[in-house]
Structures are given as structure tokens and as C-alpha cells.
Symmetry: C2
Subunit: 307 residues, 2 copies
Amino acid sequence: MFVAPAAGLKPAPLRAGSRVAMVAASGPPLAERLAYGLEVLQDWGLEVDVLSSCSAPAEPFEYLAGTDAARAEDLTTALTDPSYEAVFLAKGGYGAQRTLEHLDWADLAARQPTPRHVVGFSDVTAIQEGALRHLGWASLHAAMPATTYFSMPRAVGSLWAQLFKPESVGVLHFADAVPVVDGVAEGVVVGGCATLIASSLATDTGLSARGAILFLEDVDEELFRLDRVFTHLRRSGYLDGVRGILTGSFEECGDPALVQKLLVDRFGDLGVPVLTGADIGHGVALQALPIGLTARLDTSQRELAFV
Amino acid sequence: MFVAPAAGLKPAPLRAGSRVAMVAASGPPLAERLAYGLEVLQDWGLEVDVLSSCSAPAEPFEYLAGTDAARAEDLTTALTDPSYEAVFLAKGGYGAQRTLEHLDWADLAARQPTPRHVVGFSDVTAIQEGALRHLGWASLHAAMPATTYFSMPRAVGSLWAQLFKPESVGVLHFADAVPVVDGVAEGVVVGGCATLIASSLATDTGLSARGAILFLEDVDEELFRLDRVFTHLRRSGYLDGVRGILTGSFEECGDPALVQKLLVDRFGDLGVPVLTGADIGHGVALQALPIGLTARLDTSQRELAFV
């Protein structure tokens, strides 16, 4: 049932004039945040199509950007229309997994779309797993246009660099990271928001971390909830064969010292290098992280080098 | 990976003088609540062994009743010691899945222990799934001794009846239940706390709902979290072949009207009978519900009849 990740295709860099799509596959974006994010993308010289999900009424539940079928239709367009070189997920929240229920991956793959950047994090983790599994595409775990992260120069600059000058950001440094288990490990980078990884286990979009460098972060989960998620990853076999673990921020997850203790408790015994405290995730000016590409994690250098 | 449930063995009824074990496999019980619950069990004429996990220090994390290994040892003793006719889980909380990581089911099954009542709900759902899957035992989704539910006469009376006079409670009536999809369905009753079911998916203790009547309840989950759990059950294939759905309380899960709308949204399209609003679960004087026995759900009668 678990599918080990293979290295994904890296889309071509963007340039001024590149056409991109903006989709709301999770929660409904705030109009003013969306407008701000759109302006940033346009300042980069991108031609942005803002698809209708970005302004859909928040229904049938207020946390959703319109109906599942309509979100899935937008996402399908964004992933397959030959004119798009990137797909920006407007925001996270919740709803991507409902959207995925309505996505026809076989049809998508049959259309043989050109690989394109799929940009987002948090709830978008579920989509990025699916894109790697079914389309063989790498993606970018990075700030989303209709969120406050798009007002953080470092987060936006890091995303711009990965999109337009990827050769300039082939090595990510984590100055404040804390090695828990020392070592060097190489593998395909997978992961994202831990809760999202766990709640796609045993679905048609989930992967395993076999042979991979697993990145995990999360937001607004009490300690016992994080514990439950990590324990699910352990017990399900998702972690079997993992080569290394990199963790980012755990924002609003309680006492950081206890979160750190939990990370040591749940991942310190796996016999692989573990580096915690990367500036990637919620609540920080997150560095953009390529997902689905092969990288080398070096805990003593506190870095992840794409190879 | 998913194991469809087979009907479990029903343990012999208890009587005055029956010897039982009390175990804390999840969170640490409060001493005064434990004492009260113990008194109730002793008033029933039971000889209660309170195992050491019930008074273990709350470590390595305050939500755990001592170490995983020690809890697993107590649970193993409780499930296998030939002198016990029932196992009462002192309370829920979180931690059962950590305990299960340390349980050796093959060893347990090899000892061929006599079926015994396994009593609890909430976090205990994970243990009850494992007991049905690996030992073939039915269990009781019911009030736990070291919780406030043991001060609710209806909850305690209903548990007593299932333990001592099961023939008197072969049909459960749900006066206030609301049929969402009408019909009659028969199958093995599985389920419990929805979040626990989802977070054991694809583990060695999880089941599927194939051929089953699925019972679900939950506590303290925002609406989008419930949605995520239900959507995980849908997407994973857990619900494939389910015969009927019965839902209980959703305590502290937000506006009950929205929860009901969500239940209709996530389960109303499965083509099987759905009955919501049973007085089983958190926040109510819960009726004791046998798990792992075959029953007939009849939405128009608002009842579950064990056959």
C-alpha cells in the first residue's frame, strides 16, 4: 500500500513573462491578501491567472474555498493546461484532501502535462505528495501568496530564488538547527506538514519515507496530538527505511522544549541522522524547500545540499 | 493492509467474586477518581487488581501514565493472566497507541488467554481494535472507572448490565437518534473514537469497516479536524464495504448543527443506512456498546439489536 518516493522531475526555471495559475484548493483566501500576493507575483514579471476557486464562496463549510468538485476542476486545469509553468496554491488551511478525492490522477497523467512548479505548504503537503507519486514532479514547500508569509522578505526571496535562480539555492543552511543524531544521509526529500502526511497514510496520494530524507513541521497541534501523529508514522511503517530526518518549526504546539523532547523521543531511536530546528514551516520566514529532489543532509554542517 | 473484522468471542458474564484488572494504558488517572471507580467495582462484588501503571508517575510526558514499556507490561498481564475475567482501562486521554507499539500480539495470542471483557472508550478504541484483530475478542465501549462517567448512574448501570446480565441489554435503543439514511443493516460492530480509528489506519492493530456496522464518536475536535478524520476514512478505503453507520456524541466539536451537516456530507452518500445522535460517547451518560459482536442496525426503530 505504501509507495516509496522516486526522485521527481525538476521544472524549468521561471522567467519574466512566464504564465502561472493561482488556485485555492484548501481554504478560502482573504481578498486583500490575495491581491497583495498577486501584486508580488506580477512584480516578478509573471502572468498570473487567478482561477475561480480563489473567489468562491466559503461553502458548504466556511473552511472550504467552494465545492470539492470546483476546487478539483481548478487544480486539474492548473496542473495540465500547457500554458502554465507554475501553480501557486493561494493558501492552506484545510480541504486539499477533499479536493484530492475528486482528482482523477490517471486522467491527469494520461495528458502528459509538462512538469511545473507546485508551490505551497501546510495543507498543500497532500497535493505535493500526490504530484510526486502520480506525475513524478518535484515541488516547492514555500510561502503561499494569500498568506502573511508573502509579506516576509526572506520567505518570498527564498521562493523567488528557487523559482528563478535555482542554482543559487542548491544548498540550504540552517544556522540555528540542532543535531539530535549526527550523521550524513542522502535521499529524496519528502514530507511537509506532519499532520497532513499522517492523514494521507494509506490513501492513493500518500507515500512512504523509504529511502528518503523526511522533512516535518506543524502548527497548532498540542503536544499529545503531535505525539499521536509521529506515533502513527512509526506504527504504520511509513518511516521504515527512512534515511534521515529534518524538522522545521512547530508553531503554536506548546513549550518548544517539550516539542524538542518529543522529537528526540519519537525519532532519535531510528538509527538515522536527525537535524531539528530548520527555519522552514509555520511561524517563521520559511526558506523554500524543494520536495521530491535528491539531497544530502549533513547534521554537522547544519545543511541540506541538493545533488 | 486492511483487515476486515470477524465477529469476536463474547466473554462469559461476570459475577460476584470475579477477579479483574485495572490498567492505565493511556493517561495518568487522578488518585481520587481511581479510588471512586474502584469502590464502584468493589460494590459490584469484583476482586480488583489495580496494576502499577495506575499510579505511575506522569512521565516522560505529563499525558502518559509512565513509560510505554511499563504500560505494555501491565496491559499484557491484564490480557493474559488466567485469573482475570475483565480488564478495565482506568481512563483514556492519549497513549494507547504508544503502549501498542510495545505489545507483542503474537506472544499474547500464543498464550491462548481466555477471552475477557476489555472495557473502555476514547483512547481505548485502539486497544479494542487490536484485541478484536489479534485475539478475536469482543469488547465493551463503555465508561471507565477513573473518569467522571463512572459517576453517571445510567452509564454505570448500562456497563453493569452488559457485564453481569448481557441478555438484558441485547437491544440498544436510541430515543433521540436521527436517521440520515433509512434502512436496516447487519454486521459486526466496529469503531469507537473516530480520531483513534484514523490514527491506527495502516498499523498492525487497525481494522477496516468492511462488512461492519461502524460506530463513531469524538471529543474536542474542531469541525475541520473531524472533516479531516472522516475524509481520511473515506480516502483510505477503510469504509469500503461498510454496511451501516451509527454515530454517537461529538462533544466540544463546535456547533452541533454543523457537525450534523458534516456527518451527512461525509457519510450520507455511501449507500448504507446512517443513524446519528446515539447517546454513546463523550459528554453523555453513555450506553455501553459491545464492539466486535454482530448486530442489526434499524434506523426507523432507532435501535441496534445484537443477534
